[in-house]
């Protein structure tokens, strides 16, 4: 066992014994709440840092931490225990974005009757979920998490979804449009537009009606697409789930008007002011787990209309083509037949971020649905697409 491993083991034992979270212990040892998590993920530190941490850990084990059974919430002595990144002058753009998102989530939890978080399993959803865990800590988020499963998602997404829900103790709802399944709707047989409409848009409406959710969090960002740049954080939907872009409520300060009539609902976008780079940078800073499909690996792909499509199961008609094993990864995740891969060797987060910084094609380009018609996103949203 390496020195780092043994330190991690001891730190975890101290955490269990005292009831303090690992990040609190981490901050006490390294002045950095994420240090232990980084080390655990294979990160390194200097010998000097390690020595300091070890000395502090010994102190803690001998002192306050050994008093098992004391109330964990008692204030920790603050000597030398600064939180440098959280002083006002140093509140970074990520800190501010995080605080804004948490504020929005708490507002919905306090005012909506029956909120839900839509979880697409993608990287934005991962960030949104992480923020929800923070917003209500030490409580778990006071709402269920719902995935609209089109039955054409990558298998790895489904696996990741179920593992995440189990690990975080979430109340996960999976909704599938059963009528669509019975009619055999799929992207190969019905085309991307019809498939997305029935298995995603209609399915979402079904689910919202079925559970009578009056507020639904979504991970959309304003930087994704022009019509989203003007959508409010709290976006209202009629009883028919329609969006009226000409009749949006003004949003001033951080005061949100959440009132709706019976049957109407709100889509809430806590990540409105985040950009793609912010999302990646935050995933990196906070060590947020994401679906492995974002990282490059050898995957079987075929080329369709200029896009690299991964053959994720045998429902894909190959028409004589032979899938090639290529190093690819995905910049966005959706239904596998509609999601283009990019050739890449990026297998770590910094490499992905580097690739993103050098990229010359914007994010949604990989999605087949947005190209179907001009101004398509605005039209889709009016019809109830999230």
């Amino acid at each position: 066992m390496s020195e780092i491993d043994s330190l991690i083991t001891r730190a975890k034992a101290a955490s269990d014994k005292s009831g303090l979270s690992i990040s609190t212990v981490s901050r006490k040892l390294f002045n950095d709440g994420k240090a232990i998590a980084r080390l655990e993920a294979g990160g390194q530190c200097t010998l000097k840092t390690l020595e300091t941490a070890r000395a502090r850990l010994a102190e803690l084990e001998a002192g306050e931490f050994s008093a098992a059974g004391t109330a964990p919430a008692s204030p920790i002595p603050a000597a030398n225990d600064e939180a440098p990144s959280l002083t006002p002058s140093a509140m970074t753009h990520l800190d501010r974005l995080e605080a804004e998102s948490i504020h929005i989530m708490r507002e919905v939890a306090a005012e909506a009757e029956n909120p839900v978080m839509l979880y697409s399993v993608g990287k934005d959803s991962a960030v949104m979920l992480h923020l929800a865990m923070k917003a209500f800590y030490p409580s778990t988020p006071p709402f269920p998490v719902m995935h609209i499963d089109t039955t054409w998602k990558f298998r790895e997404m489904i696996k990741f979804r179920d593992e995440t829900a189990a690990k975080l103790g979430l109340d996960l709802i999976v909704h599938i449009n059963r009528e669509g399944v019975e009619q055999g709707v799929g992207p190969f047989t019905h085309g991307s537009q019809l498939h997305t409409d029935i298995m995603k848009t209609q399915a979402l409406k079904q689910a919202l009606d079925k559970y009578k959710f009056d507020a639904a969090f979504g991970g959309a960002r304003r930087d994704e697409e022009k019509s989203r740049a003007k959508e409010r954080v709290f976006s209202f939907r009629s009883r028919e789930h329609r969006w009226d872009p000409k009749n949006q409520r003004p949003e001033l300060w951080n005061i949100y008007n959440t009132r709706i009539a019976t049957g109407e609902s709100i889509r809430v976008f806590p990540l409105s002011n985040w950009t793609e780079l912010d999302i990646w940078q935050y995933i990196y800073r906070e060590n947020i787990p994401i679906v492995p499909l974002y990282f490059a690996a050898e995957r079987p792909v075929v080329e369709r209309d200029g896009a690299l499509i991964m053959v994720d199961d045998d429902r894909m008609p190959l028409d004589g083509a032979t899938p090639k094993q290529e190093m690819v990864r995905f910049r966005t995740l959706g239904c596998y037949p509609l999601t283009g891969a990019v050739r890449s060797n990026a297998t770590t987060l910094p490499e992905i971020i580097q690739e993103m910084l050098l990229a010359t094609t914007s994010e949604r380009q990989g999605r087949v649905i947005d190209h179907d018609q001009a101004a398509s996103m605005e039209k889709k949203k009016q019809e109830g697409y999230f």
Partner: protein, 634 residues
């Protein structure tokens, strides 16, 4: 290190570490269609290398379709979002844009400049730290420049950049620039800005955007982007007393009770004394809990959870304040109000007022004056129309904790919500508490309502007859009063026509006057109910919100809404007073049912249609209702 120079071999981890420490600045751009505002933002995005190849190629194809710049890329097309706007060539909403440099991430609120979009500009300004006001160098300081400056100052922005744009069209003339700067400073001296920075610019040519340009060698100041990267805007809120509006009570189990919210101002540490408003209970902060561990300090804009040493009752809507400097509390205050709704503001009508964490019914009791947003002159008026700003007195159903907006943008702001449509209809900035609220208390009299009504062997109530003119309200009310009188009950009828000859003879028939008419009648009815009487009110009272206001003046169960639902055709056919005929001929304006709306009650206690039942039967039903509900006992 910028994105463009980053080579795959460079250490991206170093880049990430540098960018993790960036701060954030929000700013708003104000200008009219022709000032080149969208061009400026497009230029900032372009020059900070935030456009991807596919966006640029889409831009080039859009330029061919709708562009106004010939062969040059039309940056404005990049930021005009909604399809309708692209076609009309104007920006009609608030769009938020993002870009970042090595030093800062920027959120830009791009708002339209026309007077009819004042509300959109106010929305963008409410969260901005800096305003960039565009001036066309050929035209100088115009009415719209004044309007934009006033609105951003009203919303509390203290740092202004006057971007004197299109300098290329005046040959980069120093004297032109100097004159505009001098004009602006004279005009803006009373608007309370801390800094005013004038920059000569050409957004189209990229002059003085990212760096000082050789086109303006006489200009020694900073270019726009370096200015935005270095301006210090925060810190003021940290100096103010601590405030935490409680958003959510965090109660995972019986052993933990935390109060979650975003710090509005000040700093808090474990061990600090706090006071909770409105209860005025005191305690000591035990810990500042976050998912990343407990903090030793919390500052403005941080979303935290506090635990306290004592178990005191705190709920959403309360404000946790510094023990030594609590916020003021009041149920009456004066505030500047920006009206954002198509339907005008009516003093006396009840709205919902929402602060950072609390919602309560409120009315404007007096519109002191309106402010002409173009000239800043004060004007008198009875109502506020869309996009107008007024200085008003407010009366709230319950006291709130607040600070003056100029001291604290977070605890001095509120929005108004329409109770019927749920629309956000006003944005308010509190100026000061009206001291009256602290001094006037209700006299607690020994002979009270119970004593007076039990002497009359009845429970007081108000039978509120509403319905169209000619529906039979007065006829039925008259019969009911006769029956009750015969039964030995004590009654009084307030009739619409009669009250207008006396108490309300100063009022006309505009919507504003109708609201005031009903308010007075509601108050009169309340006094009579307090005297122990059964009061019959016979008024068209066409608006739901005023009937609700009257209902809320009374105690639960005292207000009985009687909807005489006789249809318009029948009323018009009857036309007892010949009024419908005159309204149809256009001789009477604002006649309910003809050119003024009647909003039918949704949950009236009693609903009677005199086209289906006779007035006698209707009256009997009402008396039966009173008997069955126990109003005639006591």
């Amino acid at each position: 290190m910028s994105v463009a120079t980053l080579k795959p071999s460079d250490d991206v981890i170093e880049y990430l570490a540098a960018h993790e420490k960036k701060s954030m600045l929000r700013f708003i751009t104000c200008g009219s269609v022709d000032d080149g505002k969208s061009t400026l933002i497009g230029r900032l995005l372009y020059d900070s290398k935030l456009l991807y190849d596919d966006q640029i190629s889409a831009l080039e194809s859009d330029t061919k379709k709708h562009g106004t710049q010939g062969e040059k890329i039309d940056f404005a097309l990049l930021v005009d979002g909604l399809a309708a706007e692209r076609e009309q060539g104007i920006t009609i909403d608030v769009a938020y844009r993002f870009f970042s440099t090595e030093k800062r991430k920027f959120i830009v609120a791009d708002t339209p400049g026309h007077e009819q979009y004042t509300r959109n500009m106010a929305t963008g300004a409410s969260t901005a730290d800096v305003a960039v006001i565009l001036v066309d160098a050929r035209r100088g300081v115009l009415t719209q420049t004044r309007r934009h400056s006033y609105i951003v100052s009203l919303l509390g922005i203290r740092h202004i950049v006057v971007a004197i744009n299109k300098m290329d069209l005046v040959d980069y003339s120093e004297s032109t620039f100097d004159k505009i700067e001098a004009d602006y400073r004279v005009f803006a001296k009373d608007l309370g800005f801390e800094t005013i920075t004038c920059i000569p610019m050409s957004a189209l040519e990229g002059v003085n955007i990212t760096k000082q340009s050789s086109e303006t060698p006489w200009y020694q100041g900073s270019a726009l982007l370096p200015y935005l990267e270095t301006i210090k805007v925060r810190g003021a809120l940290a100096e103010k007393p601590f405030r935490l509006p409680v958003q959510w009570v965090n109660r995972p189990n019986l052993d933990f009770r935390g109060f979650s919210g975003t710090v509005a101002s000040g700093t808090i540490r474990p061990g600090d004394e706090i006071v909770v408003l409105p209860s005025a209970k005191r305690s000591i902060v035990k810990s500042i809990v976050t998912h990343d561990g407990e903090l030793t300090e919390a500052h403005p804009d941080m979303a935290v959870t506090l635990t306290l040493e004592d178990e005191i009752d705190i709920s959403r809507g309360d404000v946790i304040c510094a023990g030594k400097a609590p916020a003021e509390q009041t149920d009456q205050f004066a505030a500047h109000l920006l009206w954002m709704n198509e339907e005008a503001l009516y003093p006396g009508r009840q709205y919902l007022l929402k602060t950072a964490n609390r919602m309560i019914p409120a009315t404007v009791t007096e519109l002191k004056h309106k402010i002409n947003v173009n000239t800043l002159e004060h004007m008198s008026g009875k109502t506020l129309e869309l996009n107008e700003v007024g200085f008003c007195n407010f009366n709230l159903a319950q006291p709130i904790a607040f600070d003056c907006y100029k001291d604290n943008r977070r605890t001095g702001a509120f929005i108004l919500i329409d109770r019927r449509t749920n629309a956000t209809i006003g944005a308010g900035m509190i100026d000061f508490s009206l001291r009256r609220a602290k001094n006037v208390h209700w006299q607690d009299l020994d002979v009270n309502k119970n004593a007076r009504s039990s002497a009359k062997h009845q429970k007081p109530c108000v039978l509120w007859f509403t319905g169209l003119s000619g529906s039979g309200k007065s006829t039925v009310a008259n019969l009911v009063e006769k029956r009750l009188h015969d039964m030995g009950r004590h009654t009084y009828t307030l009739d619409g026509d009669n009250v207008r000859h006396g108490l309300n003879k100063d009022l006309g028939f505009t919507d504003a006057d109708r609201v005031e008419n009903i308010r007075r009648v509601g108050e009169a009815a309340r006094l009579m109910a307090d005297a122990g009487l059964i009061v019959l009110v016979s008024f068209i009272s066409p608006f739901q919100s005023e009937r609700r206001m009257a209902r809320e003046l009374l105690e639960d169960g005292e207000f009985i809404e009687v909807y005489i639902s006789t249809p318009l055709e029948v009323c018009e056919q009857r036309d007892v007073k010949g009024l419908y005929a005159r309204a149809r001929r256009g001789e009477i304006k604002n006649f309910t049912g003809i050119d003024s709306d009647y909003e039918a009650p949704e949950n009236a206690e009693i609903d009677l249609n005199t086209a289906e039942v006779s007035a006698e039967v209707a009256a009997n039903r009402i008396v039966e209702y009173l008997e069955s509900k126990g109003y005639l006992e006591g």
